[in-house]
């Protein structure tokens, strides 16, 4: 999976945790399933230094809650999110998805998972096989426990010449 970050003067030895308010799955290390999304994210959202790097990581998904491909996991996740939201609504608050996931994280429930794999909607027009029809899933993995990935910096590959913003594709293997 792929972690996109602004290019820095040194290579990252580990991913950077995302704490933004719009982070769907709460405070976590975010990875893209597909390189297309990793590139798209770099071009559109990681422009602070003018260039971006993509880090490729080897992740053990055995303890990942896979809401994308595993039906049982998806139904479980949906049910728990709805239960929690219902409780908060009864108390007079409506939580965002990030807040709901933060709630489970802070209460120690999501810590039982190495991470959660989930699907969002892409704004990448390349995902439209016809106008407004997204034929490809845009999949992300929110990693809560870095122990599920290996972080040995193994290799560095020069980026694609077709996109001048990309400087490196780096592998944690």
């Amino acid at each position: 999976m792929f972690h996109t970050q602004e290019k820095r003067s040194v290579l990252l030895r580990a991913p950077i945790i995302c704490t933004k308010d719009n982070a769907w799955m709460g405070m976590a290390y975010y990875f893209w399933y597909d390189t297309d999304d990793a590139f798209f994210w770099g071009i559109n959202s990681k422009k602070a230094t003018g260039y971006f790097d993509i880090y490729s990581a080897s992740i053990n998904c055995e303890d990942v809650l896979d809401t994308v491909f595993n039906e049982e996991h998806y139904l479980f996740w949906k049910k728990q999110i709805e239960k929690a939201q219902t409780s908060f609504i009864k108390a007079g608050n409506v939580l965002t998805l990030k807040q709901l996931n933060d709630y489970f994280l802070q209460r120690g429930i999501w810590a039982k998972f190495g991470g959660i794999m989930f699907q969002t909607l892409a704004s990448n027009v390349d995902y439209y096989i016809v106008k407004d029809f997204q034929y490809k899933k845009r999949i992300q993995l929110a990693v809560y426990n870095l122990g599920i990935m290996r972080l040995t910096l193994r290799s560095e590959i020069k980026g694609s010449a077709s996109n001048s913003l990309i400087t490196n594709i780096i592998c944690w293997i």
């Binding site: 055995e62 303890d63 479980f76 929690a84 108390a91 608050n93």
Partner: protein, 83 residues
């Protein structure tokens, strides 16, 4: 191997233990910009206030600024005129 049944039981126990106060407390702690974090979680009180009628001439007279006889109204009306 994930034991989803066991995790769901833990979630159910967790939510059953929560109260309106504990959920509100958690929510407010997550939202430092939320207006409620400054005001606190309170209740609305129905406060009955006597209705009052305010007119310019009454205000002026009460404040001793001008006597009623000194107020002149265009076209002899007491309607407010646009500037």
């Amino acid at each position: 191997m994930l034991d989803l049944k066991k995790i769901e039981e833990e979630i159910d126990a967790l939510l059953a233990k929560e109260t309106k106060e504990s959920l509100n407390s958690w929510f407010l702690a997550q939202n430092p910009q939320n207006i409620n974090s400054y005001l606190g979680t309170g209740e609305f009180l129905n406060i009955s206030l006597p209705s009052i009628s305010i007119t310019i001439e009454n205000l002026c007279k009460d404040a001793g600024i001008i006597a009623d006889s000194e107020i002149s109204y265009p076209n002899n009306t007491k309607y407010a005129m646009a500037a």
